[in-house]
């Protein structure tokens, strides 16, 4: 069996298990939550290490190397923040506490992830491959931007007016806004990756961008759960984050199959 098929199968299997863990009555058990946290940490570790190694394997300096280095640093920061969260919740009894020491690390991770994806989408635009007219190329990103300008205000209005402490409101607004900014290059790359369907590039960028979309949805649910005190949203949020991290890791691992020269 080929490596991409194995990776896709493993990712599908883990996401299915995560879904089962999040929809059943067993979700409230500590062991289930801890296992979900470990899946998140391991997925982010795989993404961080995979991206950094991939960047190291690209000998020449240039677009590909800087993109994977940016992704590697971004995923490393996310990995560290999930580790901090795990310690806080498991050993310091800080379940439900927000904001925590993990948040500044998440904030830094977004800077690198956004930079890497914007850099890649701009470079791919200038690649000379038949990716469509400039308008067709940029249109998915423009649509996301317009949707955010129109819908983002309505989505975040209840969060801003929740009366929560300033730091809490800041992060609850920052995460979805950063996710939407991340979604602009993601939408562009998603459209580009569809043109590569059936190829190894498709197996890298499709899961990566789908994973980021799941992050966005997770952050939106998280903002509502924390700001508007909706604890029943937690299993959904946990599913979106855990499956998002797992799917992203699958995309990063696909990069190794892409850059190998047999």
């Amino acid at each position: 069996m080929k490596t991409p098929t194995l990776v896709a199968g493993l990712v599908g299997f883990i996401v299915s298990l995560v879904a089962v863990a999040c929809i059943g009555p067993w979700y409230s058990l500590d062991i289930v939550r801890n296992l979900l946290a470990i899946v998140k940490i391991l997925s982010l570790f795989a993404s961080a290490l995979g991206s950094l190694v991939a960047s190291g394997k690209i000998k020449e300096s240039g677009a590909q190397r800087s993109v994977w280095l940016g992704l590697g640093i971004g995923f490393s920061m996310m990995f560290l923040s999930q580790c901090v969260l795990f310690v806080e919740v498991t050993f310091l009894d800080m379940q439900g506490v927000f904001t925590t020491y993990a948040d500044p690390l998440f904030l830094i991770s977004y800077v690198f992830l956004i930079w890497a994806l914007i850099s890649f989408s701009l470079r791919s635009f200038g690649s000379g491959l038949p990716l469509g007219s400039p308008l067709a190329y940029l249109s998915p990103g423009l649509i996301v931007l317009i949707l955010f300008c129109v819908g983002g205000v309505f989505l975040l209005y209840p969060v801003i007016n929740s009366g929560a402490p300033n730091a809490e409101v800041f992060y609850n607004v920052f995460y979805p806004v950063a996710d939407f900014i991340l979604l602009v290059p993601c939408a562009v790359i998603l459209r580009v990756s569809i043109k590569f369907r059936g190829g190894r590039l498709w197996m890298v960028w499709m899961p990566l961008t789908v994973g980021f979309v799941l992050y966005l949805l997770g952050d939106l649910v998280f903002a509502y759960q924390v700001s508007l005190n909706m604890p029943w949203l937690e299993p959904m949020m946990n599913f979106l984050f855990t499956s998002g991290y797992t799917v992203t890791a699958g995309g990063v691992l696909g990069q190794f199959d892409l850059i190998k020269t047999e």
């Binding site: 000998k59 020449e60 000379g128 590039l201 850059i259 020269t261």
Partner: protein
């Protein structure tokens, strides 16, 4: 002969780019070089490979792009299928 050469070039690129992008990339660069599919010959392969390489570098890195370009040029030595 030319059609089979075109197919072989596309076959080199398909595992990485997928069939649709491999086909449209090759056809686009042939058009840019004013080479018709019917007139495509082994002597055109270095030109085609050098036109494809910068775009491939963006997506697969320089090492892999060079590898693919060399495989396309290498079709010359294998002769017609």
């Amino acid at each position: 002969m030319s059609t089979s050469l075109l197919d072989r070039i596309i076959q080199v690129l398909t595992p990485d780019l997928g069939l649709t992008m491999a086909r449209s990339s090759v056809r686009m660069f042939l058009k840019k070089e004013n080479i018709s599919v019917e007139d495509l010959d082994y002597k055109d392969l270095p030109t085609l490979a050098s036109r494809l390489k910068p775009g491939l570098t963006v997506f697969v890195g320089n090492t892999k792009a060079e590898h693919l370009a060399a495989k396309i040029i290498g079709l010359k030595e294998e002769g017609p299928a």
